[in-house]
Amino acid sequence: MSPITRRTFLSHGLAGIGSAALSRLVAADSPLAVPHYQPKIKRVIHLCMAGGPSHLECFDYKPELEKLHGKAMPESFTKGQQLAQLQGKALKCMGPQWKFNKHGESQMEISEIFPHIAKHADDIAVIRSMHTEQINHDPAHTFMNTGSIIPGRPSMGSWVLYGLGSESQNLPGYVVLTSSGGGQGQPISSRQWSNGFLPGHLQGVEFQSAGSPVHYVENPPGMTDASQRDVINTINRMNSITSTRTQHPDIATRIEQYELAFRMQTAVPELMDTKGESQKTLDLYGCQPGDGTFASNCLLARRLAERGTRFIQLYHRGWDHHGAVKNGTEKTAKLVDQGTSALITDLKQRGMLDETLVIWGGEFGRTPMAQGSGDRAGRDHHIKAFSVFLAGGGIKGGTTYGETDELGYGVAKDPVSVHELHATMLHLLGLQHDALTYKAQGLDFKLTGVEPCGIIKDILA
């Protein structure tokens, strides 16, 4: 990139004078060049438990709820509050469906459905006092990912990439992987990893576990790597000739993008090919290479982290347990427990956990009230309280932060908003959340919205 281009890029990125000039960026660039202050971590791995895991079966044990099991939910909790599918229905308490045990030196209470994650009790910080604004999946995911319910805003991964750029020369800086199973597979929109009004190279790139891992990453039939190389060489030489004639900096960028595309064509298959991983590692994750499971996506997440990808998002669609929350949470937990644990272990043993933030959680929690009855009893969407956990660089392991009331309905102590979670994540990356802005529609937009918002200091080491 020529100095002139870089300069125009910087000024445009920040002043928002025009979006056309942003086309001159290369993917590895960022508007800040340096973070606001010393970062604790280099990257984020967001394990998105899509559907809304029940905090009451996962990380927030409520013995009082058990006592009221089958009895009417006290109206003092629910009066005037928003409900989803339980609207107009009789509201009955449902006690926790699984036992909780104490783990580690911290004696953290974790549900028995997570035997593997429980081993990391002293590595993770659980927040039991999350709350959100949106009670349905689609808008709640949008809020969790973009900090806004209005479609069209950039996702947090794009914001992070905008702030820090990518470290990878061959792979996208923001990658999304998906898996499903264990519960109702709610649809998920590519809006969740959209760049919104930020430049297009900041979008999340979804890798598929079946077929071509990235759209159009494979040569057409009849083209070998060598002939593709010849073609790209010719394209780039022709483009250089045009560049000399028209002197337009866009062409230099286009040439770089063709080089990057070619490198991606090699790097992506190399990334996805986990055959070289030792049996020990495969056993740790409990997956077969390329089986498309959450566990194998966790392994890919580690490989992406090693290769410099800044923001990695793993969606597991399977936590929407309106019915059979007992069996359902167990089933889904089984699909994500070992992979999550293995990822933390693996990052740790490679000395990478300290520079990574792992976020585990869904878009909302679930009601203390039952939906349906008997074995089929489930829980409805719930926005007043839910749990997430964090692990990695800058996180004080063994912390349990915030409390819900005795029935797990509302937050009783230290509420944490989605914006505060975002602000804390940015803080660990060395970014000051209210200074990371982008001008669009006449406003300085932030991931963390317009209201003042702090970071969660007590979970930080």
Binding site: A84, Y216, R245, A435
Partner: protein, 847 residues
């Protein structure tokens, strides 16, 4: 420090652009001062009382002076000047926690402005435009350039100009023959040649397609509902309406009225009713558990956002939760605006919880239906007969009926029928019960049901179609039934706007739909734009108010967007925001001139485009040299034309057109080009399987692509097409590796390369590479370029000759047939070269 570094970059850019330079003697409040105050001060000292600090507002002169912010003529006595210059961290303005900082230059401007008297002026976009009739586009641009010591660049080469006109007006490239003819005519009389070419292009039906593209972004047109299951909606008739309107040069003011309130126009035509589906193009949801009221609130807010941005370039969106921070738009204005749309018959939640505000039954008619199928129940729908298809159905029905009459009279057939029925009844008693439609199985299992003539006819008809044919007539009936168009083909549907009982609209405190304590509001336009004048309370009143030449925003906003389409940047480059935070126009006189000219010419879009493209400004070269481009990357000075990468749809159209694959049909239901397998696997309710179109629908223009909001076709997405969940007046441009991968490996482009090679080789083998270059770039290749491409051709020829299987594989991409009498290695090598040229930056750029 980070911030000072950034601001330094910005100011150096502004200096080099010289757009906003102001010397002491020449400070204009609107251009130089308000942008600073608005961006740095109004958040706390502006129109919104909720966030106003110290009771001081700076957006009104009297208040600012009364609040002792400044003393006109005396910067040294002005608190404002002292506070922006102080070192005291507790007192400095803007305060450090705002992360806003004034540059030295900005401080100087504020100082000089107060010294000169601190005059204010009304916001440019809210004033009536003015025009000096003697001016022209060129005179206004040249006047502005002269101030900077610049002049217009030289005219561009004829072939470049023709290609530019083609991409800008129809979006399709010229043929080599057209280039030659134009170049010859241009030599003789340039202006006449351009005028003739322009008129020809403006009268092409492809013009409407080109113009519709950006409009559909603004009115958030898509084929699916966007939220949650992202089911199909039915709206393609609206797209066709937009195309036809541009082609018929429907005056823009009428175009506005028809979209917002076409249904309310007395004796509305079908086309006008289709237009008013504009109101129903927003996102909808069938997600279980959503609440009607919440989605009523979401829908009404989205309509305000889109209508204000698309037609008025106003960010009314900001006033949903509070009074606007910068513009004089109040929260009450927001909800009063929303109230105009409260008559639209619809649900909030398209689930069990959702309710129409009135019983839909009373509005249903043969051509107004509540749902199309179990998933498409976003009623009401307007049903438009597909006349040709209906005629065919009718013809087939008549033929079938006459055959039936013959058969019914035949004792043999009667016997066959009885045997068939008896057999079915027997099977129902056995273990392997036949699977039949519910009504048929009911009749079969009811004894003697065939004694009733009506029931017998139902059974007999079913027998004729489903039992194995024993007579030629029955065989014919079965053939005819198979040929009969599906009911879905007989009609096209569109979600429609029906005016019903108004819903009550309240001001929602902080935008919270659960809070019903706010006052009920009546429909009214934003007070500041209307000077309190009453305009009526129907959507038609609103539409006419927006479409009025007295509205200072409407024409300006539109001509500015057309300018952006023809030059890359708008004259004000905030295409969707003409408020205080929007950009002061680089050439306000030109923007006004265009707006007035547009209205004078009866809002004719074709005339507007003709006027612009016939100017010298438009016809300049876009390659004036690197220094030039570096100093003014967005071409705000207009001392040249702009090099513009083609928008997503046109990249596709261009490749299809060059290769001869393009199907030039206009309109119709959306189509499905090749798409990577499994791309829709995250969709549910119902699950979706993508079936790419075969036949001519595979090769339609990009504008007809099925627009799945949650998973937009990856080719369109990679080249920056918006998913249209919301109004988009600008596309975020980027230059990414995914674009390179798309052009290299998307089968559409590989197939286009083979078809181009075929097209060229069908003529002969001479000058193959040269002709390919000419087809793609409208210019011959240079020696140097020819050498490179020839080398590639020879290498590929050898490779494919050595391994014919590989050649066959490469040729096998795509559904289009190709001739087998051209040797495979020759065709493959030519295709490889064509693919290379289709990937060139120049191929996807309009110069």
């Amino acid at each position: 420090m980070l911030h000072s570094r950034h601001t330094a970059f910005i100011s150096s850019l502004l200096l080099s652009l010289n757009l906003a330079n102001a010397s002491e003697s020449d400070i204009r409040y609107g251009r130089d001062v308000r942008p600073i105050l608005s961006d740095k001060c109004f958040f706390c000292h502006g129109p919104d009382p909720e966030t106003r600090e110290e009771g001081l507002r700076l957006d009104i002169r009297e208040n600012a002076i009364k609040g002792k912010a400044f003393v006109p003529g005396h910067p040294e006595k002005s608190a404002l000047i002292e506070l922006i210059n102080t070192d005291d961290k507790d007192r400095i303005m803007p305060p450090p926690e705002s992360h806003k900082k004034l540059t030295k230059k900005e401080k100087q401007i504020l100082h000089d402005w107060i010294k000169a008297g601190g005059d204010y002026e009304p916001h440019w976009a809210y004033q009536q435009p003015k025009q000096n009739a003697d001016d022209t586009i060129d005179s206004l641009v040249e006047k502005a350039l002269k101030k900077k010591g610049l002049t217009l660049s030289k005219p561009t080469a004829a072939h470049t100009l023709l290609r530019r006109l083609h991409f800008d007006i129809t979006g399709l490239p010229p043929t080599s023959a057209e280039v030659t003819a134009f170049t010859d005519a241009h030599k003789i009389d340039p202006m006449a040649a351009v005028a003739k070419a322009t008129d020809k292009l403006l009268s092409s039906p492809n013009y409407g397609e080109r113009m519709a593209m950006k409009w559909l972004d603004a009115v958030r047109y898509a084929d699916t509902v966007g939220y949650h299951g992202d089911q199909n909606t039915e709206v393609s008739l609206f797209r066709d309406y937009v195309i036809n309107s541009f082609n018929n040069d429907l005056p823009y003011n009428q175009f506005i009225i028809e979209q917002i309130a076409g249904d309310l126009i007395p004796n509305a035509s079908i086309s006008q009713r289709i237009a008013s589906s504009y109101n129903r193009l927003g996102q909808m949801s069938q997600e279980g558990g959503i609440q009607d009221k919440e989605y009523v609130a979401k829908t009404q807010a989205e309509r305000v956002r889109t209508t204000s941005a698309a037609f008025l370039g106003s960010t009314m969106a900001c006033a949903e939760c509070h009074d606007h921070k910068f513009d004089p738009i109040t929260a009450k204005d927001f909800y009063s605006f929303a109230a105009y749309f409260s008559d639209i018959l619809e649900k909030g939640a398209w689930t069990g919880d959702g309710k129409y505000q009135e019983d839909i039954q009373k509005y249903l008619k043969p051509n107004i239906v509540a749902s199309i199928n179990s998933r498409e129940r976003y009623g009401p729908y307007l049903r438009i007969p597909n006349e040709d298809v209906l005629a065919k159905s009718k013809r087939i029905d008549a033929e079938i009926n006459s055959l039936k009459t013959t058969l019914k009279a035949s004792p043999t057939v009667e016997k066959n029928f009885a045997a068939w029925l008896a057999e079915l009844r027997k099977r129902f008693k056995s273990k392997s019960k036949p699977r039949l439609p519910r009504n048929i199985s009911n009749l079969v299992t009811t004894a003697d049901s065939d004694k009733n003539p009506t029931n017998k006819t139902i059974l007999f008809d079913y027998f004729l179609i489903k039992s194995s044919a024993k007579t030629p007539q029955q065989k014919k009936i079965q053939e005819l039934t198979a040929q009969k168009p599906k009911p879905t083909e007989e009609y096209r549907h569109i979600v429609t706007t029906i005016s019903a009982k108004r819903r009550t609209v309240r001001l929602l405190p902080r935008g919270d739909w659960t809070d019903q304590s706010g006052a009920v509001v009546q429909p009214a336009p934003p007070a500041f734009l209307n000077n309190g004048e009453e305009i009526g309370t129907t959507r038609l009143d609103l539409a006419k108010w927006i479409a009025s030449e007295k509205n200072p925003l409407t024409a300006r906003v539109f001509v500015n967007r057309i300018w952006a389409q023809l030059f890359g940047s708008g004259l004000s480059n905030s295409l969707g925001d003409f408020g205080f935070q929007g950009e002061y126009p680089s050439n306000p006189e030109l923007l006004d001139w265009l707006a007035i000219e547009f209205v004078k010419n009866n809002w004719s879009v074709k005339q507007l485009i003709r006027t612009v493209v016939l100017s010298k400004t438009y016809q300049q070269t876009s390659t004036p040299g690197g220094e030039f481009i570096a100093h003014d990357p967005d071409n705000r000075l207009l001392a040249r034309q702009t090099q513009l990468r083609l928008p997503a749809e046109l990249i596709r159209d261009n490749a299809l057109s060059i290769s001869g694959l393009l199907t030039e049909d206009i309109g119709g239901p959306s189509v499905r080009p090749y798409q990577p397998t499994g791309y829709y696997r995250h969709l549910n309710f119902p699950r979706r399987k993508y079936q790419a179109d075969s036949g001519k629908n595979q090769y339609r223009r990009g504008i007809y692509t099925h627009w799945q909001r949650t998973f937009l076709h990856p080719m369109l997405k990679n080249f920056g097409a918006p998913n249209r969940e919301e109004c988009a007046t600008e596309r975020a441009e980027a230059n990414t590796p995914l674009q390179a991968l798309t052009l290299l490996n998307d089968p559409t482009f590989t197939e286009a390369a083979r078809s181009l090679a075929t097209k060229l080789l069908m003529v002969n083998k001479d000058n193959l590479v040269q002709r390919a270059m000419m087809s793609c770039l409208s210019r011959p290749a240079t020696e140097q370029e020819l050498k490179l491409l020839d080398k590639l051709y020879q290498d590929e020829l050898l490779r494919f000759k050595a391994d014919p299987d590989v050649a066959q594989k490469f040729l096998s991409v795509g559904l289009a047939p190709y001739p087998t009498d051209i040797p495979a290695h020759e065709l493959a090598a030519a295709a490889s070269v064509a693919r290379t040229i289709l990937n060139l930056h120049e191929t996807i750029t309009r110069y």
